[in-house]
Amino acid sequence: MSDYVVDESTIFETPLVELDLDIEADADVYAKVEWFNLYDAPHGGGSVKSRIAKGMLDGAEERGDLEPGVTVIEPTSGNTGSEIARLAAVRGYDVEIVMPDNAAGGKVEAVRDAGAEIHFVDANRGYDAVIERCEAIIAADPDAYFRPNQYENPDNPGTHERTTAREIYEATDGEVTHFVAGVGTGGTITGTGRGLTDLTDGAAEIVGFEPDEPLHAIDGLKYLKTGDHYHPDTYDESVLDRTAYVTTADAYDQARALRERYLDDAVPIADPGQHDEETIREHLRVDDQFVVGTSAGGGAAAVVGLDEAGELDDGDTVVFMLCDRGDKYADIPLWEEYL
């Protein structure tokens, strides 16, 4: 039995902060601060993937698909791997994570800390090769493994539909007009989008964003714009009202703009979720800087892009996701000069 400890009760009910983006419309822009899932865990706390790791493991245990003695295995670009590794270790399972060898250092360390075995795959071979390696490992001993499978498991979007959507709806007093999220597995945009569409009777516009270039560095997101690509079962485009495209350069620029904007000013807390203000203030910044991950920068860029396209009006209420904290990326160009 592993002696690794994380507090699963800190998952869900994350804070909502109000952000001052450079937009023309007099709209309120809010963001869910997802590293407050497992906020006390080392290497940047948790992430938006803490939600689905819990949802998929809970679901598998309830259905009897995951039993003692089985090894949990998952292909991942990082965050899902670290969150599954953390939660599965606490529950007593051995874990193997398959990830590309360019995964951000903070994510790799989080997986290692949880005691999981890592199989690295040459990043040059692309993400499909990561999935193929995982499938080959399972095929060699199928009874030994359980794969949550974030790309096919309905508990991925289902968890967001039950939790993220309701949290956003309640924290904005039902006034959310736009929800913006990146597309990797598609679970966040599909599940939260379904939930918000239901809760707002279709009033909320659901906007997914994807990388604009095949060779990008927006963590966890999938290039789907052109060509023949693997399409996750967890991604239902029919939920979306529109798709936006974001360059890595714009994602970096917006992440750095947020850091600059809040160097001297506190980030306003619109709704604390399950946390007290002291905890939020302690974990919102790193080295007294408000630094977010690459996909969070991408979300901000997508909101700015909507505004530039004339899609935001005065009085709108926009919500996007700060999927993880910047210290996971201290070893890549986004933050290596700052952290």
């Binding site: 990043a123 499909d128 560095a217 927006i218 290039y223 890549i332």
Partner: protein, 87 residues
């Protein structure tokens, strides 16, 4: 000639492919590749004549930061984004 190991995301599927390209510097390598095979790889790697901030270019396993970096004869060149994204 040097060999560029093409990223799978630019090739399709999970297989990489290699292409031999002439050039004494990183810039020459990607410009010559564009002349022979089209601009997709060069446009993915270079912006305003420099290596994009978030793209890592490795020559014989060593990261290079400038397009003026020398490329030895028969060198292996790899191109990888500075974070995991994939397809």
């Amino acid at each position: 000639m040097a060999t560029i190991k093409l990223p799978a995301v630019l090739v399709g599927g999970s297989a990489t492919s290699e292409v031999d390209v002439a050039g004494d510097t990183v810039r020459e390598l990607f410009e010559n590749h564009a002349d022979e095979h089209g601009p997709e790889l060069k446009d993915s790697v270079l912006e305003d004549g420099e290596i994009k901030e978030f793209i890592n270019v490795y020559v014989e396993g060593t990261p290079v930061e400038s397009v003026t970096a020398e490329v030895p004869e028969d060198a292996q060149v790899r191109v990888i984004p500075a974070a995991s994204g994939g397809r």
